[in-house]
């Protein structure tokens, strides 16, 4: 089976050919399989956004190749355009890209660009709105009358409506309050469950990463520093800290408990996983 996205030897430089030349991403190799939910983490300015902009050909690699569904996207104009629809990219603060006079029309912008017939466009808009959690009564409203969280859902629906095989989010929950944040993260989870699509997301929240992801890619100073399952990556906490990252808070607490001599595992990454252990301790599982 072909990978959803495969990248080989990818490098991208900014200000190429000038004294200010900097590598935004250096010799990156990665494979993302179909149906995976992958998190990309890294310090601010480490090259995450540059990397994901290559997934649908918004940026052209200076070196290396990008394959979407087994096809080199820079092979021809058609394959490039195809990649735009196969890989949906949802940027940071997507609500700033809303422009139509109704939410419905805005969500329909992508499918219309795909030259689908009106019936299909409508079907996709309604489906995307449902997946993204846009309330049906909001569809005829102006997107500018919605609240911040609702705007973001509408904008995300605008990407989902293209029904991409791969959906990429750049910090989907940035700037939202804790409640809206939780809702959005759950929305991404249910989107994956309902559609079975590949999802890639960039995040600074290790809690969200631990809760959502199957696999983590760590980027540090323009290079892929680590790749692996959640437990593989979070078990290397010291290395993460040296990159300006961290492990989830609950993992840190469990590591501290272990230091104090409590019998708890060190591979606990979500509050959900932690609950039975805490209960056990409370019921008298004293220090060993």
């Amino acid at each position: 089976m072909t990978s959803a996205i495969e990248i080989t030897g990818l490098s991208h430089y900014y200000n190429k050919g000038t004294p200010n030349e900097v590598a935004a991403i250096k010799n990156a190799n990665l494979r993302i399989e179909k149906g995976e939910l992958v998190a990309i983490i890294g310090h601010t300015g480490s090259g995450k956004s540059t990397l994901i902009s290559h997934f649908n050909g918004l940026l052209k690699p200076d070196e290396g190749k990008v394959f979407v569904d087994g096809k080199d996207i820079w092979q021809s104009k058609e394959s490039l355009r195809e990649s735009r629809f196969k890989v949906g990219l949802c940027f940071q603060y997507p609500e700033y890209q809303l422009f139509e006079d109704t939410v419905f029309k805005d969500i329909a912008f992508g499918p219309k660009n795909m030259k689908l017939d009106d019936e299909e466009v409508k079907r996709r808009v309604l489906r995307a709105a449902q997946l993204a959690g846009v309330k049906p009564e909001h569809l005829d409203k102006s997107p500018f009358d919605l609240s911040g969280g609702e705007k973001r859902r509408a904008a995300i629906a605008g990407v989902m409506s293209m029904q991409p095989q791969v959906l990429v989010f750049d910090e989907p929950a940035a700037g939202l309050d804790p409640h809206a944040r939780k809702q959005l993260i759950d929305m991404i989870k249910s989107y994956r469950e309902q559609t079975g699509c590949t999802v890639i997301f960039v995040s600074h929240s290790m809690e969200d990463v631990a809760y959502l992801a199957d696999r983590i890619i760590v980027i540090n100073q323009a290079e892929i520093a680590m790749q692996g399952s959640v437990s593989e990556v979070f078990s290397r906490g010291d290395e993460l800290t040296s990159m300006g990252l961290n492990v989830p808070e609950i993992t840190r607490i469990f590591l501290m408990l272990r230091e104090k001599g409590y019998d708890v595992p060190k591979d606990v990454y979500t509050v959900g996983q932690a609950v039975p252990h805490i209960k056990r301790l409370m019921e008298g599982g004293r220090a060993i």
Partner: protein, 271 residues
Amino acid sequence: MISDITIGQYYSGNSVLHRMDARMKLILTFASIVAIFLCKNFFSLGLMVIFTVAATLLSCVPAKMVIKSLKPIIVILIFTAVLNIFYTTGGDTYFKWKFIEITEEGVNTAIFMAIRIVSLVVLSSLLTYTTTPTLLTDALERILSPLKVFKIKVHTLAMMMTLALRFIPTLIEEINRIMNAQKARGADLETGGIVARAKALIPIFIPLMISSFRRAYELAFAMTCRGYTGGEGRTRMKQMKLRVSDFIACAVVCALVGGIIALNIYFEAVI
């Protein structure tokens, strides 16, 4: 593409011109531009060219950058030169074919015009290459401050200019971001006729407008919060001071103007 636009094209350096007082630079640039148009013969024009080249060398701005600033006017340059060759008549005739006639005066005028335009652009770009936009508007504000007598809000105008210049890079970045977001939704900005392309800009410009207004409000609030009330009673962080070198520069430009006038009187005018 969009990032090629250079307004406020400052080239950082520490040359004599960079260190000059911005007010003096602004006035002297203006004076030497006037001097360009005083030239009446090739001798005075030659003096002007020497001055322009000398100023460029003093600024330490690479020749490549200076030539780049001439790029946008190449069309205008060729157009005026060609027009002048054919439309000005007088003196010896060099070439004649049916109604097309090239005369001595025509050629002279064409050369004059071309050199004038080039030195005009070079001198004014030297000003922007060696002076930061903030210093420039600051200088403009001080030079225009006598206009306060006529109730013109010089400070407000200067502040508006500073802010406008400050936000050009921000807006370019914003445009790029919105363009990428809409491209990711399959917006096609590169193909199609004029109408299709103009229509394709709507998804870019509406979000841009909205975010610009938002930014303007935020900036206004931020300025108010920091106690900004306009120009009244504001002191400056950077005091401008005229130094000896500024007066030397002033003397040089005066000598230039004097020299041009003298050469104009001494030699026969050709234009």
